[in-house]
């Protein structure tokens, strides 16, 4: 993948990565991991975390992780361990709604059912969504995964949230 442009601005554009995304058909079947980690860096906890062998890396620890979307069950384990906060999950619910799971490490922590601001990769406000569930890993340190119900067309865009109270 060409990442030189992304290295000039700090984020990827949807069109730069969407060819690596799971198909809409797969997204309708259920939750699936989407990894946005396009650079060769020495890091592999995602590969080690996957109980289904769905994440592979060519060329050892510096390889780029690739998800086998048929093996991936959307269990969230990889997203919980990713030090780079680069793993998201998504699924399509119906014709109008999708779910995106994003990491959240800020205060305040949103509550279930709460309406939040949806941010894209550049931090732009792209709309509102509702918190479906939160996952707080069993560690002393907080690092939330937040599942957001978003307008269907936004599953490729939403990558963070902001609490609006």
């Amino acid at each position: 993948m060409e990442i030189e442009k992304a290295m000039e601005r700090g984020y990827l554009l949807t069109e730069e990565i969407e060819d690596t995304f799971p198909s809409e058909e797969r997204l309708r079947r259920g939750m699936v991991a989407i990894i946005e980690c396009p650079q060769e860096i020495p890091c592999n906890p995602c590969v080690e975390s996957c109980p289904f062998g769905a994440i592979t890396m060519e060329g050892g620890i510096n390889g780029i992780p690739v998800v086998d979307y048929d093996r991936c069950t959307g269990c969230t384990l990889c997203a919980q361990v990713c030090p780079g906060h680069a793993i998201f999950l998504a699924r399509i619910l119906d014709d109008s709604r999708a779910v995106v799971v994003v990491p959240h490490e800020f205060l305040p922590v949103p509550e279930r059912g709460e309406e939040v601001k949806l941010l894209d990769r550049a931090g732009r406000d792209v709309g509102r969504g509702r918190v479906l569930w939160l996952l707080k890993p069993e560690r002393e340190v907080h690092y939330y995964l937040v599942a957001l119900e978003v307008p269907r067309e936004l599953w490729k865009e939403v990558r963070a949230l902001e609490v609006i109270r």
Partner: protein, 499 residues
């Protein structure tokens, strides 16, 4: 509010000591016992710590005792580094003006010198030094002493709240602060001796025939509730230097205003001591340190107006940059800072776009409303002590500046070793690997390691290092290291460590 204590944080809980009173230039203030004096002062809104002879103000910059911006007169002792001196009830703190005189009553502030002797001394208790000490101890060196000038073991890990890359064996996915705790526990479990708040100030060779290395350390010790300073002469059969690195500076107009801080210094204030050193920040430099500290500032409730980077591309790992970008922080490549605005302290900053030759483009200047400027323009290895210890230095830009010429076992001389950022700026993971090699080599050279054990450990870690450095970033480090690693290991340094 420019400065403030962080009461709520998404990751950290701050355990503060009891409230104590102290005085600043005779005025009564309060702070928490055990926190650095510098933190207590900032929390009280006091940020000009001393003035140069020409009246220029100075405030905290590095927060780890490496620069000289926070010197004050504490309990009569001038030039006290307030960023590494813990607050105590009743302390008398005074602003310093120009060159201070000698303390009036020396005897009150000092304890008599002492001398100790150890087989192995490790200077620096960061990831490199701690793993070195643990490894040497595990291979049979019983009397290892770790000397560190900080108030706790862990070095730079103590402020890294983000999760580390790498693989499981080297704690990938864990936060730096957790890794520091693990290493500290391992040191404690082994009963390895440590000397905290001890600064090694010199290595004396010729003057002392009784030992291979003689180190001079200045140590702060608490005597009846007051810190006293003492000199310790440490005789050592072998020394591992793991003194880390210091943050680089950048020339621009008004760069000495209070509020221009090292990014690492900001990190120490926020993440170790729970103090917000500003409310709106500009970050200069989009390497890993810059973008990580920007993210952590957001977590601490500091608004980050922008990150400027003079190069056409971001130097940080993409994923670190993406974390701040999605919080709406603009990362402006091909941009630089022209000046800090303000009288004594930062009240703004002017940035501009640069052309292909890094010259600011007229008409592109823009003022930002910030009260904190974070410099993250690189680290340079702290080589002063190894140089005194006889190391030959060579300048390697990619590794951060001058570094010691060494062999593959991290020896720069017989029974002298370097590891971690000191032997080339890289990462905590590789610092730990290098520490293991240096520790094992020292145990071997001292004749303590069981036969073949040192070489087994070293070969294994060398493999880990090779794998780790096999990516594009690591390969560049490997190439740069060729300029300083002598092959084969010189006989006079101890030669090969074979089976």
């Amino acid at each position: 509010m420019r400065y403030g204590r962080i009461e709520e944080h998404p990751i950290l809980k701050f355990e503060r000591g009891r409230k104590v009173r102290f005085t600043l230039d005779g005025r009564e203030l309060w702070g928490y016992e055990g926190e650095p004096i510098a933190i207590a002062l900032l929390a009280n809104g006091h940020d000009v710590f001393f003035r140069m002879e020409d009246g220029r103000p100075r405030g905290p910059f590095c927060m780890i005792g490496k620069c000289s911006s926070c010197l004050m007169v504490v309990d009569g002792v001038p030039n006290t580094r307030t960023c590494v001196t813990p607050l105590r009830e009743g302390m008398d703190v005074r602003t310093q003006h120009g060159e201070p005189g000698l303390p009036e009553r020396v005897s009150d502030s000092f304890v008599p010198p002492m001398e100790i002797r150890r087989s192995l001394v490790v200077v620096g208790g960061g990831p490199a030094g701690l793993t070195a000490a643990i490894q040497a101890h595990d291979l049979g060196v019983e009397d290892v002493l770790i000397v560190d000038e900080g108030m706790r073991l862990g070095g730079q890990l103590l402020k890294q709240t983000h999760r580390f890359f790498g693989n499981k064996k080297y704690y990938a996915g864990k936060r730096g602060i957790e890794i520091a705790r693990i290493l500290e526990r391992e040191v404690e479990e082994r009963g390895i001796e440590k000397m905290l708040m001890g600064t090694v100030i010199g290595v004396f060779r010729e003057s002392e025939p009784r030992a291979r290395y003689t180190l001079g350390a200045v140590v702060k010790r608490e005597v009846n509730g007051v810190y006293k300073t003492g000199f310790v002469r440490i005789l050592a059969d072998a020394v591992i230097f793991a003194t880390g690195a210091a943050e680089k500076y950048l020339p621009f107009e008004n760069n000495d205003l209070v509020g221009v801080m090292g990014a690492g210094g900001i990190q120490t204030a926020m993440n170790v001591w729970g103090l917000r050193p500003g409310s709106r920040a500009l970050v200069v430099g989009a390497g890993n340190v810059g973008v990580i500290v920007a993210y952590q500032m957001l977590q601490a409730g500091i608004k980050v107006e922008a990150i400027v980077e003079i190069m056409p591309r971001i130097g940080a790992y993409f994923v670190h940059a993406a974390k701040v970008a999605r919080r709406g922080v603009p990362i402006l490549t091909r941009h630089t800072i022209l000046r800090a605005i303000g009288e004594d302290r930062v009240e703004g900053a002017t940035i501009a776009r640069v052309d292909d030759r890094w010259n600011p483009i007229p008409g592109t200047e823009r003022d930002l409303d910030v009260d904190l400027i974070a410099l993250s323009v690189g680290l340079k290895p702290s080589v002063e002590l190894v140089q005194q210890a006889g190391a030959r230095l060579r300048y390697v830009g990619r590794l951060g500046g001058f570094i010691a010429v060494r062999d593959r076992y991290h020896r720069f001389a017989p029974f002298g070793y370097v590891a971690g950022d000191l032997s080339g700026i890289e990462e905590a993971t590789t610092a730990m690997m290098e520490g293991k090699i240096a520790g094992a080599a020292a145990a071997h050279d001292l004749g303590r390691a069981p036969p073949r054990e040192a070489s087994r450990v070293i070969r294994e870690v060398e493999e880990d290092l090779k794998t780790f450095r096999s990516g594009p970033i690591g390969r560049r480090i490997e190439e740069a290291l060729r300029a300083v690693v002598v092959e084969p290991p010189p006989e006079e340094w101890g030669g090969e460590i074979g089976d």
